[in-house]
Amino acid sequence: MTPTEEIPARLREILAQLLGVSPDGIGPGFSAESAPEWTSLNHLMLISQLESEFGVFFTNQEVQQLTSFDRIVAALVGRNQAGG
């Protein structure tokens, strides 16, 4: 599995576990706006989990912006391609 396949798959697992929702419903288009379980509290848990899991650090601006599956995938793939 390539990083561009691996990252969305792992993100789906993390989001499902953290938000307590089925992974089947998580994919492109899934966001804090569409998912009531994606609260501000869960968002902080998500960011710290992602930083640990993928070995990255998000700025305050990124923390505010990474509120959808697509944005997070893009950010993580970008970091991966840039070498972390």
Binding site: L18, G20, S40, L44
Partner: protein, 148 residues
Amino acid sequence: LAVIKPVAEPSLLGVGIDMEECAALRRLDDASVERAAQRWLTDKERDWCAKQDPFADALLVVLSCKEAVFKASNQGRVAHQVRLAVAGCCVRGEGWAEQSAVPIRVVWRRWRNQVVALAVAAAGVREVCSTDPTSSLVSRSLEGLTGA
């Protein structure tokens, strides 16, 4: 705690409220909870959490208070940048925002399986402490909301 030094009639600038399910963080493993505390809490906030039991509940209280203070401050900062001094336990307590341009008090209560945090930003109080007018206002408001 600081001494009360009201310099004028407190002027209400903002109110923030946050509610979180008590069990919200209990489904996370210890490592995830600890990681979140390291990432989002100051040393002082973590020290307070370490004295509470369970730690996850204390983390929830602090994060809920930060959210309430953030809403009350109305300054465009992000919630996790709020720095708090807190006193009390996971069931009830109070705190205030540090390094804030305006004094902001926050109190919390556990109520019906929720943590309810209420913050009030008010000018006119140079120093704040547990018995200052702002704090009384916040406590009375929260008691009115929760009946606790």
